[in-house]
């Protein structure tokens, strides 16, 4: 049995060990000898002055304060720092845990009749304020954890009908006896749900081709205040705009996804991988572009800049981690060709393994370091290749300038999480010494600066972290206004009372 942390990432039992913590602190101290790395314990929730519930619902609703506290925020750095500081904002008035789809309908009905907002909640790993009841009157958070079953498997089409509340590991465990896998492994895999992935267009395992969960989606079933929408299971269709593509990325604002038919894979049996070190970042980017445009479709094609590689893969050079996989045929020739495209890049050992190990520990380490007043957070984007050099320079400059102003010093790292024929999805890391008591405000200032740079340079405010409430100021600038009007029109049709996740994607109708 494990216990979810109320204030930070994952399971209490999996948090960093004292030894791991000591090593992290030592590593930071080596770089930042003057930083105040005093350790801070999280507050005891029992000592916090938690607001009481303003509603009186039925038995599938919990109004327990600590339960509500654990559903009040996601897993962004700013969520963790506010929790650590005992800075408790609004809580949902109740947590509803539907056991059936009819319960979902009933919760929406009850909330509609009582003018109570509804925030759909999967694993609660939003890093953009997607599940936070900010600036709302009365709110029910609908936790779908009991809708966690694989209901049906179609081996011929390699697809399964799956309830939206299932967590990654349980989903894979239920598919395994059928010899099938979804192979959608976001960093949050252990603590996020299928419905959350679908609602936020999550990025997954594949660095190319099937980059978002969108591509693995065959059909969706969505409960809205105006009824249930269920699309046909179709491998492809040209019958009007795709119904699924409207709900994918709708972040709980148009309805509650309860089920999906997902496209599955057989587990790979053929694999080939290598890590390649480059003499310069520019050469590394160019090789990555060639591979992205080659049609080789590596499953992994993760480029680490020297700082990222130094911190997480043991090498102070630009390193490209490549991997090919197939359930059907050998992939060695693909790797060989990709290595040819790397030109004078040099194959190195061990980087991929070390990267993978670091990758899964990162969220725990981020939280541990937040306890030492370190600012450790990420942001991400995507842009076309022709714009990348300029965007990267502008973002790096904006981040460095903000770090200097806010923290005095800091490190900016970059990696590509996904690559496309027409551009990369760069992912940035920030490491800086913060000031205990001001961490949230400090991060918010840095985040605003880099978001401005992203939007000004032609990037997207998010490639796979979603919009939530935190990205709204930049999302509304990025999104065509006319499309915004269309989306509001669709929302007004499905959710005329504006009950569903208000403040996200569209503004509440007045």
């Amino acid at each position: 049995m494990t216990t979810r942390s109320w204030w930070g990432w994952g399971n209490v039992e999996d948090a960093v060990t004292p030894e791991e913590r000591r090593a992290l602190v030592e590593r930071v101290r080596a770089v930042l000898p003057d930083a105040d790395l005093t350790f801070h314990e999280p507050p005891d929730p029992a000592t916090l002055d938690l607001p009481s519930s303003r509603i009186q619902p039925s038995e599938i609703y919990s109004t327990d304060p600590v339960d509500r506290l654990a559903h009040a925020r996601g897993q962004a750095y700013r969520d963790v720092t506010r929790n650590l500081a005992g800075d408790i904002g609004p809580l949902p008035d109740a947590v509803a845990r539907p056991r059936t789809e009819q319960d979902v309908v009933d919760v929406l009905d009850w909330c509609g009749s009582n003018d109570v907002a509804v925030i759909p909640f999967g694993g609660g790993t939003s890093v953009v304020g997607g599940v936070e009841p900010r600036d709302l009157d009365r709110v029910v958070t609908m936790d779908l954890q009991h809708l966690d079953q694989v209901l049906e498997v179609d081996p011929a089409s390699r697809a399964a009908r799956i309830q939206a509340g299932v967590l990654g590991p349980s989903l894979e465990a239920q598919l395994k006896p059928h010899g099938l896998t979804l192979r959608h492994f976001p960093q949050s895999f252990e603590f996020s749900t299928l419905g959350g992935w679908l609602a936020t267009r999550a990025g997954g395992h594949y660095a190319t081709l099937y980059t978002h969960v969108d591509d693995l989606t065959e059909s969706l079933r969505v409960v809205t205040p105006q009824g249930i929408s269920e699309s046909r299971r179709l491998p492809g269709s040209g019958a009007g705009p795709s119904p699924d593509r409207l709900f994918l990325g709708s972040e709980g604002t148009l309805g509650v996804i309860t089920e999906a038919w997902m496209r599955l894979q057989e587990p790979p049996v053929h694999r080939a991988g290598a890590s390649v070190r480059f003499a310069s970042w520019e050469r590394a980017v160019e090789a990555t572009r060639l591979i992205a445009q080659s049609g080789l479709h590596p499953a992994n094609c993760r480029l680490l800049d020297p700082a990222e590689a130094f911190l997480n893969a043991g090498s102070p050079s630009s390193v490209l981690v490549l991997a090919f996989e197939s359930a059907d045929h050998p992939v060695d020739a693909k790797l060989a060709r990709a290595l040819e495209l790397c030109g004078d890049g040099e194959v190195v050992e061990g980087a991929a393994q070390q990267w993978r190990k670091s990758f899964l520990r990162m969220p725990y380490q981020r939280d541990a370091m937040a306890q030492h007043a370190m600012i450790t957070e990420t942001f991400e984007t995507a842009c076309t290749w022709d714009r990348f050099a300029e965007l990267h320079a502008a973002v790096t400059e904006a981040a460095t300038k903000a770090l200097r102003e806010v923290c005095g010093i800091g490190i900016v790292t970059c990696r590509f999480t996904h690559v496309y024929p027409d551009g990369p999805a760069p992912y940035y890391g920030i490491y800086a010494p913060g000031r205990w008591g001001s961490l949230t405000a400090q991060w918010d200032e840095i985040k605003a600066a880099v978001s401005e740079a992203l939007i000004a340079s032609g990037g997207t405010i998010t490639h796979h972290h979603a919009v939530g409430r935190d990205h709204m100021p930049w999302y509304t600038r990025q999104r065509p206004d006319v499309f915004g009007a269309a989306l509001s029109g669709a929302k007004a049709a499905l959710d005329p009372q504006g009950l569903l996740n208000p403040g996200v994607l569209t503004t509440r109708p007045t």
Copy 2:
């Protein structure tokens, strides 16, 4: 110089030759000795009683009757048979030919001020009544033929900004000096436009992976009555529901697509292909499924049933036409593996070449045979693999029964145009002797019967022919009602007067 046919497919100069016609008629007579194959000339448009225009627009509008006649219908069999019979329905009151995007804005403004409907028109090759001014009061058809330029090429990202009115061949000719190609080759390639492909989610060259033009789209620029929507050029994004996916497949009902950034390819230099004959249709379908699920991604993977193969590829067995291509690396190993997956299928020569030749002549031959009162038309769908056998049996039975009742006799053929890991896109052909004077009604009866079977069997009413007016009765059954309400909400927001292509996808607001 070539002349577009006013009544049927393509260029007058490319119509079937007398010799080709004789051969076709002889072939039909061999199978249907009793059919009345009398030849019928199309009427002279000058002798038709064409309704006069009801509007008085400015100089970019043509009110010439024959020009309006040539914009009154698409290229479905029922369009051709009505034209041949001199059965002229409503014409647009004028044909507007904007020369700039501002002209597009002005036409929408003028039509809005004068309560005149607008039908956007690309190449006019709709086979679903998508451009027909049916049951409307006053209508301007907006022909985008002058917006035909490739405006900008980004070689690093392999993308180009292209005006929507460009025809396939001109698009490729303008890209060629840059060493790039869109490689979107629908059967209508020569006479259809980029904007038409985007508005209808056209199916293209690739049998797997990039099956629809959707996948090649980087961003869209759309003029709506509420302003211009331009999405960012992004290789991928997770910022809310995709703006482009709402306009892709909107069939001119939400706005007029004026430009798009499209993802391009380098032309392939490595190719490998083979045709494989199978002992049974079931074995052929199974092999095709395995290839579709292998991750080999053939560019062509077209399965012909024995009747289709007999008519168009010279072999009376199920034949799978396979082709691999790459601009980067050899593809022989992929073909070899695909052939392994074909089990005891037998490689045959010549089928692919003959198929390709037939493919391009089909529309011309269909029209030639319509002049001899033959009913020759196609319909298409997609479904998951687990449902295919049942769907195929139901559709074949419905078609055969309808042909018996309507025509006494007839042939039903099937091919797969595109295949996905989770299902095929079957494409059916109908060949039957009709009755001159009743061809349209006869076809409509057959079409209704097969459409009922498709929808009842879990298929889509269209994989890549779009919805238009002809598919509306089945589209509204296939589409989730709740999604229909969302789409109507989006349309009400962008086109509150309901000016744009009324009768398609959504019903006019009352």
